[in-house]
Each structure stands twice: as structure tokens, then as C-alpha cells.
């Protein structure tokens, strides 16, 4: 009897422990508490969004109520187009997508891939030292270089344009260089060696062999960069003075000012919430379709860091 139980315990100890746990009352309670905590957390994390969307549908009389109205009735769906039309948001959207996000994404993906290739697929003296330097620059706070960068850009005449935001993207971004380098190292060297024997140039190897194999990683880079450009506030607020050049982030912030500084503006809060919702929507949709890519990209960089 004892011998039988001993051999059982080695192979299925976890299974047996689990079965025991399910039978004991403490196991039951633990499960309930676990799901309770999860649900409470889930509610806390989504409540602000729910509040944002439902507040967008209110009119002024429903905003300032005690207790708060969670589902406005009547729901003013026209707040969405009205809020969007109240300022130049279409222009801001065009600015964000075509002058900032798309060029930055293109530049960052391309340049980070090229630089990462140099760090990952080629062996040359000083390579690892330079790579450590590259990674170390991620820790330099933007605030430190912010002022002289501004002065430099002013001297170049780049203030009031998107160049300060887009040009650096074309020169590689350490975060993405790091991510892609880790990924490139997982591609077998034999593929490159075979191509080299066949006389292919390094650039050819990168373009025709390594990059096609790295499409998932490149997609993550493109996704993350686009999202960061979409969300960015500090860069644009420093470099863009003309209202017509603003991206949507600045537009939303400006709308806030009309709410808080001018005080009693009609439908200020609902409009602010409506615009915020519209600005968040593309991210929700993009995230819904590319969840795995997002999360894997961030996990990989975070783990190896």
C-alpha cells in the first residue's frame, strides 16, 4: 500500500493536490475570492472608459447631477459629430496620421531593422560595446536633452514642423533596435552563411532573407510606433506652435482648456468626453485585432531587458 502511494506521488503529486484542494472548503473559498478580486479589478480598470463613453452622451443637465447618471436617457448621440465638428479635429486627424504617425512608423521600422541587423547578424570589433551604449541611451531622460534639442531645432528652422518628431525616427530608435536585434539573433546563421557563399551582399541578405522571416517582429514595431505617435503629447506641444499643425492629442488638450478656463461653456464636458472617445476608438480596434502581437512584443523586450 505504502509503496503504491509513493510511486503515485512522484508522477501525479500536482494532480492529486489539485483534486484534494477542490474538495476542501478552503479550496472553494480561495476560488471565489480569486474571481471576486479579478472582477473588482476588471471593473476598476474599465469603469473610467465606461464613464467616458456614457458621459459623452449626456447633455448639460445630466452632467452635473447627484447621484451620477450612469446611463443617460435620452442619449445624445449627436454629441459625437457635433463635438468633432466644434474644432478643427478633421485637420488634426490628418496631421496625426499623414504628417506624424505614418512617416514615423515607416522610418522607425526601416531604420531600426537596418541598425538591428548590423548589431545582430554581423560580427565586427566594438559591436557589443556600441550596442550596450545604444541600450544605455534609453535611460537618458528626455528632459535632459529637451532644451538643447529645442535650440538646435530652432537654429535648423524645424520648429513649427513635424521634422523634429519624424526625422529622429528615420535614424533608429533604441527600444526597437533592441527588440529587433533580439529577434534577429534567433534566425539561424546557416541561412546567412549559405547566402554569403552564394555571393549575396549583406544588404541583399538582409532584404531577401532576414527581413521576410522577421515580419511578425517588424509588425510589432510598426504597431507600437504608430500607437506612440498617435498618443504623443509632449513632443508636439514643444515643437508645434501653429494650431493648424496640431495632432489630435493637442486638439483634445485645447478642448479641455475651453472647459476649465472659460467655465460655463455649453456641453463642454460631454464634448470633451466625446472627442476623447473618438480618439481612443482606433486604438481599441487596432488592439482588438492585434492583441497578441502587442503583448508578445512588449513581453519579449521586457523579459530580455
Amino acid at each position: 500500500m505504502t509503496a503504491q502511494r509513493a510511486s503515485y506521488s512522484v508522477t501525479t503529486v500536482s494532480g492529486q493536490a489539485n483534486r484534494l484542494r477542490k474538495l476542501r472548503p478552503s479550496g472553494w473559498i480561495a476560488e471565489i475570492i480569486k474571481y471576486l478580486v479579478l472582477i473588482i479589478l476588471a471593473i476598476s480598470f474599465t469603469l473610467p472608459f465606461f464613464w467616458m463613453v456614457t458621459s459623452a452622451l449626456k447633455d448639460d443637465s445630466q452632467v452635473y447631477t447627484v447621484p451620477p447618471i450612469w446611463i443617460p436617457n435620452p442619449a445624445h448621440w449627436e454629441n459625437f459629430p457635433d463635438a468633432w465638428g466644434s474644432y478643427n479635429f478633421n485637420l488634426y486627424m490628418v496631421n496625426t496620421v499623414f504628417r506624424f504617425a505614418l512617416p514615423a512608423t515607416l522610418g522607425a521600422t526601416l531604420s531600426s531593422a537596418i541598425v538591428a541587423y548590423g548589431f545582430a547578424r554581423l560580427r565586427w570589433p566594438g559591436r557589443d560595446l556600441l550596442f550596450s551604449l545604444c541600450v544605455a541611451t534609453m535611460m537618458i531622460p528626455f528632459a535632459v536633452t529637451m532644451v538643447p534639442l529645442f535650440i538646435t531645432y530652432k537654429n535648423l528652422g524645424w520648429i513649427n514642423s513635424y521634422r523634429p518628431l519624424v526625422v529622429p525616427a528615420f535614424l533608429g530608435s533604441p527600444y526597437f533596435i533592441f527588440m529587433l536585434r533580439q529577434f534577429f539573433r534567433t534566425i539561424p546563421e546557416e541561412l546567412s552563411d549559405a547566402a554569403r557563399i552564394d555571393g549575396a551582399s549583406e544588404f541583399g541578405i538582409m532584404w531577401r532573407i532576414v527581413l521576410p522571416l522577421a515580419k511578425p517582429a517588424l509588425t510589432v514595431v510598426a504597431l507600437l510606433q504608430f500607437m506612440w505617435a498617435w498618443n504623443e503629447y509632449l513632443g508636439p506641444v514643444i515643437y508645434l506652435n501653429e494650431q493648424d499643425l496640431w495632432p489630435i492629442a493637442l486638439g483634445v488638450a485645447y478642448l479641455r482648456e475651453t472647459v476649465y478656463s472659460l467655465g460655463a461653456l455649453e456641453l463642454a464636458y460631454p464634448y470633451l468626453m466625446a472627442v476623447s472617445t473618438i480618439v481612443t476608438l482606433p486604438i481599441v480596434i487596432a488592439f482588438f485585432f492585434t492583441q497578441r502581437a502587442f503583448i508578445e512584443g512588449i513581453s519579449v523586450t521586457g523579459l530580455k531587458g
Partner: protein, 307 residues
């Protein structure tokens, strides 16, 4: 093996190395340019500007160390901003790391719909900061924010989250913990990297869940925790957008963090030289903090066989 053949091989190897050096540097050149132009040059020139008075309109005026002296003796807002930053970072970084790690552990247990909950926790971290600021400003509003108006409806006193100087920073810390979803994802991945065999060995040794957590899970995740802690500190010291949009450094400068003070000096008052000095003090503080964190990490970080 004749001597000349060995010599020839040596020369070929040297030539191959030079060739690879050329190609390596060529591929890496975009970053090298960026590094020199957008990192090294601004770092050096910000040292230069920190010893001058410069308002962009007139040429810089040499001031010696006056900016630094002024910072520590005649700028009360600097002292306040340092206090605010230390308070905020000292609480938000550890709390953010701990809460994210605990949530990741919760997600790592056997639950139904893990991808769903994971997405829910992760989502706030990819929302535009502007939206976060707007929504939370409305949510925490002292009169008609959801929380306070519910309290009023129940006859309870309101909580002036953002209008009471004592509560402003804790409110920011709370919001910070709300956007730690990306950390949760990273910890979840590292939790799943912990070898199952270690847990089984612990079970055989008679360990309960609590002991397994402290003796297996936590030690093996400490490298990732350290990395995230450092990045949280560095990010926290530079915290600008949220205090700027939520409370504009107020109320009563309660949320005037170092980065906010820097921004004001640089772009509102055009004290570019003084702002450069502030930036360098911030930089040195971050470097010192990072080094201290690294040095003390040897005592609690466990680098397993994988590293």
C-alpha cells in the same frame, strides 16, 4: 604548415575583420548619426547652456555657476518640486511594481478567460495620456465626478481628490497604478518562464502556496522586477504630462514635479540656461539613483542559470 601560409591566413583574417567593421558600421550608421547629433551634442551643449543665461532672443550670457547656486538657494519652487518628485516617485514606482506583479500572479493562476482579463488590465496603458488625463479629471471632480457625486448621493462627505493639496499626489499615484498594464504583461511572461519542475519539487518538499510564492516565484522574477523598478523610477522622475494636464502643477504647487518646473522655466519663462541646469541636476540624480539600485540589487536579485 609553413610560416608563410600562417602569415597569409593572419593577413586574410585582418582584412576580413576590416571588411566586417566597414559593413557593421555602415548598417549601424543611422543610429550612430542619431546618437551623435541628437544625444551627445545636446548633452554637451546643455552643459554649456547651464552656465549661461539664454532666452532664445538675445545671445547667451555667461553666468558661471550662478544658475546652480540660484537653484539651491533662491528658488523655492525647486525645493518644492524636488520634494514632490521624491514623494511621487518614491511611492508610485514601488507601488506600481508590486501591484502589477501581484496582478500578474493573479492572472497566472488557473482562471477562465485569462486573455480577456489580461487585455482589460493592459488596455489603459496604451490609451493616449491626454485621454487618461481628461477622463480621470472628470471622474475625480469634487462636485460632479462619478465618485464624489455617488458619495454625495449617499450622504457621505466628498473627497477633493484633485483640489486638496494633500490628496493631489496620492491621486496621481492611483492613476499611475491604473496604467501599469504593460508591466503586468511583462511579469506574466516572466512568471510563465519559471520552470514547473521547481514548483513540483517544492510541493514534494511540503511547501504551501505562500512558501512557493516567496521561495520560487519571487526570486526567479527578480531580474525583471529590478529592470521594471529602475525604468519606473526613471520614468517617474520625468513625469510631466499627467500632472500638467490634470492639475497644472497645482493645487498650490502640490503636483509641481521637477519635470513640470523644468518645462515652465524653459518654455513659459524662456529661462533656457536655468532649465539646462535643472535638467543636469535631474540627470545626475537619475544616474545616482540607478547606480544605487543596481549596487543594492545584488542582495535581492537572483540571476538563475538562464542568464
Amino acid at each position: 604548415m609553413s610560416v608563410s601560409a600562417a602569415g597569409r591566413r593572419g593577413r586574410l583574417r585582418a582584412r576580413a575583420t576590416r571588411r566586417y567593421l566597414f559593413w557593421g558600421l555602415l548598417f549601424v550608421s543611422p543610429w550612430l548619426i542619431s546618437f551623435l547629433v541628437f544625444t551627445v551634442y545636446p548633452l554637451l551643449s546643455s552643459i554649456y547652456y547651464s552656465f549661461h543665461r539664454f532666452d532664445l532672443m538675445r545671445p547667451p550670457v555667461f553666468l558661471g555657476v550662478e544658475n546652480y547656486v540660484r537653484m539651491f538657494t533662491r528658488d523655492p519652487r525647486f525645493g518644492k518640486s524636488v520634494y514632490n518628485t521624491v514623494y511621487y516617485v518614491g511611492l508610485s514606482a514601488p507601488l506600481g511594481v508590486i501591484s502589477a506583479f501581484l496582478m500578474a500572479n493573479l492572472l497566472n493562476t488557473r482562471i477562465a478567460g485569462r486573455p480577456f482579463f489580461r487585455a482589460l488590465f493592459f488596455f489603459p496603458s496604451i490609451v493616449p495620456v491626454v485621454v487618461t488625463a481628461m477622463v480621470w479629471r472628470y471622474l475625480l471632480n469634487v462636485q460632479y465626478g462619478a465618485i464624489n457625486s455617488t458619495l454625495q448621493g449617499l450622504g457621505l462627505p466628498v473627497i477633493p481628490f484633485l483640489s486638496n493639496p494633500q490628496l493631489a499626489k496620492p491621486s496621481l499615484i492611483l492613476i499611475h497604478m491604473w496604467v501599469q498594464g504593460n508591466q503586468v504583461v511583462i511579469y506574466l511572461a516572466s512568471l510563465q518562464d519559471v520552470p514547473r519542475s521547481l514548483y513540483e519539487a517544492a510541493t514534494v518538499d511540503g511547501a504551501n502556496a505562500w512558501q512557493k510564492f516567496w521561495n520560487v516565484t519571487v526570486p526567479l522574477c527578480t531580474p525583471v522586477i529590478l529592470f521594471n523598478l529602475i525604468m519606473s523610477f526613471i520614468g517617474g522622475v520625468q513625469s510631466f504630462v499627467l500632472p500638467w494636464l490634470l492639475t497644472d502643477g497645482g493645487p498650490n504647487q502640490a503636483t509641481e514635479f521637477l519635470a513640470v518646473h523644468l518645462y515652465r522655466n524653459a518654455f513659459e519663462w524662456l529661462h533656457m540656461g536655468y532649465a539646462s541646469a535643472l535638467a543636469w541636476v535631474m540627470f545626475i540624480a537619475i544616474v545616482v539613483l540607478t547606480v544605487v539600485l543596481f549596487k543594492t540589487s545584488a542582495r535581492w536579485v537572483y540571476y538563475g542559470s538562464g542568464e
